[in-house]
C-alpha cells in the first residue's frame, strides 16, 4: 500500500495494474458495441450533418446529407449546387426553387428520389422504417418561433428527419438534422414540427439508394 504525504490518498499498487487492464478492456468493448435500441427506433439517426452557414443552401445541404447517408459517400455541396445553378434552380444570392429541385436530386447516380406533399407524419415514419432518407420543408417562422421573435410569412427551410415515433398519447416525437445546427438528431416535438411542416403544404422528399446502385 502506497501513501502520499499531505494527501488523503493511498493505493494498492498490486491491484492498480489489473484494474487498469480491466477498464481498458471494458472501454474497448463499449466502442465496439452496437447502439442500444431503446425508446425511439434508430431509423436514420446515423445520417451525417452538413451545415449551411450564411448561404441559402438548406435544401442542398439536406440533399447532401441524404445522399451521404444512403451511399456512404459525401457527394460534396458542388454535386448539387453546380447543376442546380446551371439550370436556374438555385441562385446563391436568393435561394432554391424547391419545386424543381427534385429533378436535380433525381439526376444523381444511384439514387431514387420521390417528391410531393405528404398526407401526414405516418408517411414520414413509414419512409424512415423502410430505410429512406426524408427531407421536409417547413415554415421558418413556425419552426423557430419558440427560439426567437421572427417575422411571420417568412421563408421556408429544409430539414432532414432522422427519426419519427408516435407516442402512446398519440403525439409525435421526431429527431432532425437542421442545416442551421451542427448537432445531429435534434429532438423536436410534433407540436413544433407538424405546424411548421403544414405551413409548406407538408412538402416531403424521400431519397434511397437504388438496388445495385
Amino acid at each position: 500500500m502506497e501513501s502520499y504525504p499531505g494527501h488523503e490518498i493511498s493505493e494498492n499498487i498490486e491491484q492498480a495494474l489489473p484494474a487498469a487492464t480491466e477498464r481498458m478492456s471494458m472501454e474497448a468493448r463499449l466502442q465496439r458495441a452496437a447502439p442500444a435500441e431503446v425508446g425511439a427506433p434508430m431509423q436514420m439517426t446515423d445520417t451525417p450533418v452538413h451545415t449551411q452557414g450564411d448561404a441559402p443552401d438548406c435544401l442542398l445541404q439536406c440533399a447532401r446529407m441524404a445522399e451521404h447517408r444512403q451511399t456512404g459517400l459525401d457527394p460534396g455541396l458542388e454535386a448539387y449546387k453546380n447543376p442546380a445553378q446551371q439550370e436556374g434552380i438555385y441562385d446563391p444570392e436568393t435561394g432554391t426553387n424547391v419545386e424543381k429541385f427534385a429533378d436535380i436530386m433525381a439526376e444523381r447516380p444511384g439514387l431514387s428520389v420521390e417528391a410531393g406533399n405528404a398526407q401526414g407524419p405516418e408517411v414520414i415514419e413509414s419512409a424512415l422504417d423502410q430505410g429512406k432518407s426524408v427531407i421536409v420543408g417547413v415554415d421558418a417562422y413556425e419552426y423557430y418561433r419558440g427560439e426567437t421573435n421572427p417575422e411571420p410569412n417568412s421563408s421556408g427551410h429544409a430539414l432532414v428527419v432522422t427519426s419519427a415515433e408516435q407516442q402512446s398519447d398519440s403525439t409525435w416525437k421526431f429527431t432532425v438534422n437542421d442545416p442551421n445546427d451542427s448537432t445531429p438528431n435534434l429532438p423536436v416535438d410534433g407540436n413544433r414540427l407538424l405546424p411548421a411542416w403544414s405551413g409548406t403544404g407538408q412538402l416531403m422528399m424521400t431519397v434511397e439508394a437504388k438496388p445495385g446502385g
Binding site: 441559402p56 424547391v98 418561433r145 421573435n149 421572427p150 411571420p152 417568412s154 427551410h157
Partner: protein, 164 residues
Amino acid sequence: MDIRKLGNDTLDASRARGWAALETGISRPVPKVTIGTVNLTFLLYRSQVRPPYQMLYEPIGKVTVDFVTGNVVEHTTLPTDHPPRVLGRYPHAAAAHIPREEWSKVWDDLFALYPSIIGMFAGQLANDPLQRASFRALFDLTTPPFMRPYYVALNPQFFDWLTG
C-alpha cells in the same frame, strides 16, 4: 379577408411563378386605391433564419394583388445591389425583448386590424382614430427601421394618411 393567409398565398403564387425561392419571405401589404379598386402590394425579400436571428436582405421584387379576389395583378422586379445586400437582422432592438407569447399576439392584433384599416383608407369605413393609432403602433413595432423606407415607397400616401 385573412391578411396573414393572403400573404402566404401570395408567396406560394410567387414561388410557383419563379419570382420567389424557398428562402424568400414576404412583407406585410401596403394598400393602394386606384379608380375605386383596392390593391395590396407586398415586398419579396430573402429572409433567412440564422438562430437566434433572421437576416433580411434588400427586396428583390413586389407583388400586387386584388384585395377582394386575392388574385395577382402585377409583379415588378426591384433593382438591388449585386448581390442583394443584407439590410439587417430580425428581431430588431424594439422587438427582441418582447416575450414570445406577447410577440405572437402583437402580430395577431396587427393582422386583425388590417381589414378595418384598409376599409378606412379606401373610404369604405368611417375613420376610427383609435384603431388607426393602434395599427400605427403595431406596424412600427414590427417593422425594423431599415425596412421602413421600402414599405413607404410602396405607397407614401398610405403612410401620410396613417400618421395624419
